[in-house]
Structure formats: C-alpha cells, structure tokens
Symmetry: C2
Subunit: 316 residues, 2 copies
C-alpha cells in the first residue's frame, strides 16, 4: 500500500504549476504539500487494480479526485473560518480570503485538467458523473451550513448531509477507478455503494471519536460538543430526551468547557446514544465488507477488505 | 441576431436546477436571471454557424461558456466587495459571502456539466483547452488584484492582465464554436486571435468610456479615476509625466469628486493619452476585421463583421 501512496505523492509533486501569479499558485502548492491520508486517490488505484494491472493509467483520475477534494477543503475552511488545517494555517489565514477563493477556484479547474487526461471512450459520461458527484458535495456543504441555524434536524437529514458531503466522493473514487479499468456496470455500482458505506462509517466514527476518542497528536476532544454541532450523537440524544431537556443540558452554566463535555458524554452514555453511534459504524462497515463478495477475489480486493477493517480499528 | 439571443435565453431558463438546498441553487438562478448581453454564447453560435447550420449542437458549449463567465462574475464580485451587478444586489450582498462562494463553485461545476454534453470525438482536447482558458481567467483576476497594491505596473503588464481576464474567453468562445463545427486548425486559430483582439478592443474602450463616455442608464462616469484604477489611460499618463507628477495629480485636495475627475480628464487630453487609448481600440478592432478575410464568407461571418463594427460604434 505504501507503494500506491508514494506513487500518488510523486504525481502530486509533479503537477506543473506556473510560478506566477504567485498568490494564485503558491497557495495551491501549499495546500497539496499539507499532506493528508490520500484516501480517495488510493481507493481509485485500488479499485482500478481489482480489474487492471497498469495503474499508471489511473493516476490522472486519482489526481483529479484528490485535487477536487483539496479544493473543497480550501473553500470549506473559508466558510467555516477555520484557522488551521493539519496543524498549519489555512490558506485564508496565511494569505487572505480573496486568495483562498481564487486559488480554490483554480484548484478545481486543475482537477478538471486531470480529468481531461483520461484516455477512455466513455470520457463524456465519466465527466458527467463526476459533475453530479461534485454538485452533491456542494449540496452537502450547504446542508451542513444550513443545519447550524436550523432549529430541528432529523437524523435522516443528518445522514443525507454526511452522505453528500463526504460519502459520495468516496463512492465515486471506487466506482470511477473500476469504470476506467473496464469493470461492468454491476461491479461499478457495487463499488460505489461500498464506498458510500465506507464514507458514512468513517464520518460517523469521526463524530464518535470527537467525544469518546483519545486526545493527543494535536487533537482536542469535545470540539463538536462545545460548538453544539448537530452530530448523530446530539441528534439521537435530542430524539430521546427532547429539545427542551437538551437545551437545558447545553445552555446551563458550567465551571469550564471540560465540565460541559463531561456532562454531555454522561448523557450520551446514559441514553446509550454512544452505543447507537457505534452500532451504525459497525453496520455500514459490515455492509461494505459484505459487498466485497460480489467483486473479483484478488490482491487488490483483499487490500480493500483490509483497508475497511483498518477503518474499524480506529475506534479502539 | 435576436433569434440567437432568444435561443440562448431559453436554454439558460431551461437549465434544470434542484429546489434544494435553496441557498445553493437560488443564487445561481438569480445570477442567470440578471441578464447580460450574452456576448460569449452568441459568439459561440456565430462561429459555429460559419461552418455548420444546426446550431442546436452548439448550445451546450454556448451555455458552458456563459455559465463559466457568470461564475467568474459571482466570485469576482465577492473579491471586489461589489454591492451591485446590473443594478441589482450581488449574491454576497443579497445573501452572504459563504453563499456566494459555494453557489459560485456549483455554477462552475454546472459549466462543466454542459461541456460534458458536447458530442464530439475531440472532447478530451476541448476540455483541456477550456481548462487552460479557465486558468488564464483566474490568472487575470489575480493580476488585477495584485495591481491594486503593486507600485509600478507597465502598460505591457496591463495588456497581459486584460488579455487573460477578458480577452481569452472571447477568443475561446469563437475558437471552440468553430472547432465543434469541424473548422480546421488554421480557421480555429484565426478565430481565437480575432476574439482576443475583440476582447482587448472592448476592454480598452470600456476604460475610455469610463472617463470620456456619457453618463446615464445608471452608469457613473469617472469611477476608475476615483478608485485610482490602473487603466491604459492612467498608466500612459504616468509614462508621460512620471510617477511623482501623477501622484500629485491624484493626491491633491479637490473640492469634490467631479473636480478630481475633470482634472484627470484634462491631463489625459493634454498628454493625448485619450487619443492613444482610442488608437488602441481602433487598432485591435481593425485587426479583428482583417482576420475575417481568412474565414469563409457567408451570412454568419458577415454578422460577425457587423458585430465588431457595432463594438466600435459604442465610443460615439
């Protein structure tokens, strides 16, 4: 797997950005150099290799999806006023808002520039599919922002939001990798669904770990609680104890943030929303694992299985 | 020509936008309904029809370029803090900054969604070319913003900025329309150059009219002067009288804005930079008109000739 990642990093480094205008291209290089787990391009290559050997041909697609993902992070950080990304100043914090908007735009165009390099008779349909996914990601981000001021959010609405904001691009990575490699429609759709389930499991687990995970490596625990972020945990608790009781819990005076985090954690445990959250993570992961049965058995699909199992390990 | 515009407006109206999330799609509909001269999609259809009859096939390309242009306006307005666009509140003024960023992103994706509908064996190359143009437009916008704080800007740098920010997309409209219609490479390149020249003539004329045009129809005169905008006029004046004399002229106390505008206008006339500006407009327009000789003679190319001549009429 290390080899795949080395391949991706090298390809990202080799993206040829002009020197000028500096404020347009330096923030893009800065963003790409921030690193990250490169999950999506990794999944593109993995899905491709379930059906074909020569992963060189899948690199433009892998890059396109990683560049698009980085574009969404860049603009989301502006909208969320986030000061840090991977422990370093965000682009709008390091430069300014206008630089972040415009270099984000250029980064999205660079994603399409990689898509244009795909050598495949189905390019028009692939481009159309990618655009549908890209629009869904924007919809997810808008829903996420809407939820901040929306009085009531159902768990179904929350699931739809994280599906669009996070899961569809994971699904698209696997589906498009397979599509490019000549997989049939059924295999493509199996991989799309598998990716969506992985994405949902991952996001739900993120929510859980924000409250019940271990602090460390620059990670603060309880941020979602302090921000009153409408997560699966919070919305499940609200469904159990009602809006008024939840408001009391959130708005009452606490001696310090730690006390507030502890109070909410206790409420989650008392109402077993922590268990419900974990049960969801397990369910979506299991569905992803079961979907593997409908795919060819080979080293790449075994790696995919291992990768899904690793995701589950994160909770411990 | 009215027919072409009716076609374009109808196609824009027919773009199917989802109802939700409202804050993502309503600003896009609002932007498209603001109107505009639709110059770029008009030129796509015109260039197409120089070589082919059935302009229906060119509509997705025409829409893609118009959607992309509208995306740039939407984000540029955020960066410029512009309160109004075509006499109505800009998206960020009517909604807010985050809505303008995200709906602009989605609008760019919709442009690519139209490109994906192009039925042509050269789609990959067309997409690659479109991306190059799109990046150049971003570069032009960054240069424009850089110029605001840059101490010295040469006339050559200014010309490069307006070429990228405005002219390349006009060139691309004509070139891609012809490309789609099966024109050969030489014809495509002739039309690209012709479009760039039109774009340069148009922008230089805009600069001129901002100072020497007639007020009215909601148009204020002298805005560029009050903003110390580095236009062809200002940079030419600086080249003639020097930075210090220009600074004195710009920074001295005036009784009111009108007096300042009058003082600069007088200086432009005294140094004949007004004439130099008009000479540039005429030169680029003439080059565009001469390029027509290398294209097939038919009704569409005659319309293009008429259209370029109309541009020149604007100055009177």
């Amino acid at each position: 797997m290390e080899q795949y990642l080395a391949h991706i990093e090298e390809a990202l480094r080799k993206i040829n950005l002009p020197d000028a205008p500096e404020k347009l291209y330096q923030p893009i290089r800065y963003t790409l150099d921030l690193g990250g787990k490169r999950v999506r391009p990794f999944l593109v290559l993995l899905a491709y290799q379930i059906f074909q050997k020569d992963i060189e041909k899948a690199l433009p697609l892998a890059l396109a999806i990683e560049l698009f993902h980085n574009f969404t992070l860049l603009h989301d950080d502006v909208m969320d006023n986030a000061p840090l990304r991977r422990g370093k100043p965000t682009v709008h914090a390091h430069w300014n808002r206008d630089v972040a908007i415009l270099s984000g735009d250029a980064l999205m165009i660079l994603a399409y520039q990689e898509l244009a390099k795909i050598q495949h008779p189905d390019l028009a349909n692939m481009l159309g599919f990618f655009n549908e996914i890209a629009l869904a990601v924007c919809e997810g981000q808008q829903m996420d922002m809407d939820f901040e001021t929306q009085k009531t959010v159902s768990i179904a609405e929350y699931m739809e939001m994280i599906r669009k904001k996070t899961a569809v691009l994971v699904g698209a990575s696997l589906k498009m990798g397979a599509w490019l490699a000549g997989a049939n429609t059924q295999e493509q759709n199996t991989l799309y669904k598998l990716g969506e389930d992985m994405g949902l499991a991952f996001q739900l687990q993120d929510d859980y770990l924000d409250v019940f995970g271990k602090a460390g490596f620059g990670k603060e625990i309880g941020g979602d609680i302090l921000a009153h972020k409408k997560t699966f945990l919070l919305l499940s608790l609200q469904a159990k104890i009602g809006q008024n009781a939840l408001n009391t819990l959130l708005e009452q005076p606490y001696a310090n943030p730690q006390e507030k985090i502890a109070a909410l954690r206790k409420a989650y445990e008392a109402q077993e929303t922590d268990k419900a959250n974990l049960a969801q993570v397990v369910q979506y992961s299991q569905e992803a694992l079961q979907a593997l049965q409908h795919l060819p058995k080979n080293q790449a699909s075994q790696w995919l299985e291992y990768f899904i199992q690793q995701l589950l390990e994160r909770e411990k």
